[in-house]
């Protein structure tokens, strides 16, 4: 870096409060900051709110974009769906409480951030994250901080402004690009210091996702992903697989098949987009959910599927419901059956309940 150019930083922006504060602390020290948000397919942001009809009138914002606007910085939203698979499928540091590979994920994201060139700069001088030691049980601990710095390749070009005072000096501090005295020494799970800092900056409207920034921290979602791997017989996924895990009721009566059943009109509409790729069931006799069938069901399985569809339709108390089953090969068949009674559905058929 020459003396005449402003130092530049790339800040990981999740859309939550901590990354917002971290970027702001550095921005206020006169550094040129741009944000980056990685789209893995598991993000809590976006998606499901667009799908569910009840949310139609309160279009949720994309928090990362919103945060960047509040800060007055540019945001790169980067598609890492393909590359991220390796992080989820083979995390060298293992998973957290659920299928969240937080430590590997952080290493991956810091590394990817370093590879970026900015809109106003060829490369960034350092990376900023909103990590706080002790905040997350697995990925944000004293021991993991240097691991992320080393394995991402960032080394001392990784600055965590919210807890920097508890960590060794980094390059931006030594080089005088930022003043260590103006950084923070937050520690642990207590959110009060962050709230106070937010108030000082006048931030009143911000998102604080419980659990984490992606669906992999969600127990129910992780159960569905484990089920997918188990019954496909391989640990892998495509984007559509992981999007569908966020939608509808997932019912697996046996190893041969699983049903993905819409719970309301928005999900019905969304699942309709997948009719080409699945055998699907439409109920003819009553109002009811569109249902995708995954796997290779037998004839008696399809009768059971019809009974289950009946159970979640307006015909749940009728003697019989009739459905059309559209097979993937283009053949359709009509089936009638009595809706299944609630006590006949074992709890373990509901994946991730």
């Amino acid at each position: 870096m020459t003396d005449t150019r402003k130092p530049s930083a790339i800040a990981l922006i999740s859309g939550g409060l901590d990354s917002m504060l971290a970027a702001k602390v550095i921005l206020d020290q006169g550094v040129h900051v741009e944000g980056v948000n990685f789209y893995t397919g598991f993000c809590v942001e976006g998606h499901t709110h667009a799908v569910r009809a009840k949310n139609k009138n309160k279009q949720k914002r994309n928090n990362a974009l919103w945060v960047a606007e509040q800060l007055g910085i540019k945001l790169h939203i980067v598609d890492v769906i393909e590359e991220y698979k390796d992080v989820v499928l083979n995390p060298s540091h293992g998973y957290g409480k659920n299928l969240n590979p937080c430590l590997d994920c952080k290493i991956f994201m810091v590394n990817k951030a370093l590879e970026l060139s900015g809109f106003d700069t060829d490369s960034f001088d350092f990376v900023v994250t909103g990590e706080v030691i002790g905040q997350r049980p697995k990925s944000q601990k004293n021991e993991t901080m240097p691991i992320i710095a080393q394995e991402s390749g960032a080394h001392d070009r990784l600055l965590r402004p919210l807890c920097a005072k508890n960590l060794p000096e980094t390059l931006p501090e030594r080089a005088g690009w930022v003043n260590r005295e103006l950084l923070h020494g937050f520690y642990g799970r207590n959110r009060k210091p962050q709230m106070e800092l937010a108030a000082r900056y006048g931030f009143t409207d911000y998102s604080q996702p419980a659990g984490g920034c992606c669906f992999l921290t969600d127990e129910r979602y992780s159960s569905k992903l484990k089920d997918l791997w188990q019954f496909r017989g391989e640990k892998n996924y495509e984007l559509d697989d992981i999007l569908l895990l966020k939608i509808g009721r997932h019912i697996r009566p046996n190893a041969r098949f699983k049903l993905i059943m819409a719970r309301e009109e928005g999900e019905n509409r969304f699942l309709r987009g997948y009719r080409k790729n699945f055998t699907y069931i439409e109920i003819d006799s009553h109002e009811g959910p569109l249902t995708l069938v995954e796997g290779n069901p037998s004839t008696s399985d399809l009768t059971l599927a019809t009974r289950l569809v009946g159970r979640y339709s307006q015909g749940k108390n009728a003697d019989e419901v009739s459905v059309t089953i559209h097979h993937r090969n283009g053949v359709s068949e009509q089936i009638s059956a009595s809706p299944i009674a609630p006590h006949e559905i074992p709890d373990n058929w509901h994946i991730g309940l």
Binding site: N37, Y39, E45, G46, H47, H49, A50, V51, K56, Q59, K60, R61, N62, L65, W66, A68, E69, I73, K74, L75, H76, I77, V78, D79, F119, L243, G273
Partner: protein, 76 residues
């Protein structure tokens, strides 16, 4: 004739990501169109354009075709 970025069926933020990828390899001043179906674009694209100095020329929903058409002129 403006180039069209096809984001039909993609959920947000993918339409934005596709537009951003197109913008990176396209000259400033170019006008292009994004075809999308996720109504989240009504929120995301104005913010993205403001942030990056692009002009949001138009954003309309064609109800009959169920397509949202976003027209953008790239800034510098």
């Amino acid at each position: 004739m403006e180039e069209i970025v096809d984001a039909i069926g993609l959920l947000c933020p993918l339409p934005l990501i596709r537009a951003q990828e197109f913008a990176k390899s396209t000259k400033p001043g170019t006008t292009f169109i994004v075809h999308a179906t996720d109504p989240g674009v009504f929120r995301d694209f104005p913010a993205w354009c403001r942030m990056h100095g692009h002009t949001l020329v138009d954003i309309v929903e064609h109800k009959a075709e169920q397509i949202i058409e976003v027209t953008i002129e790239l800034g510098n």
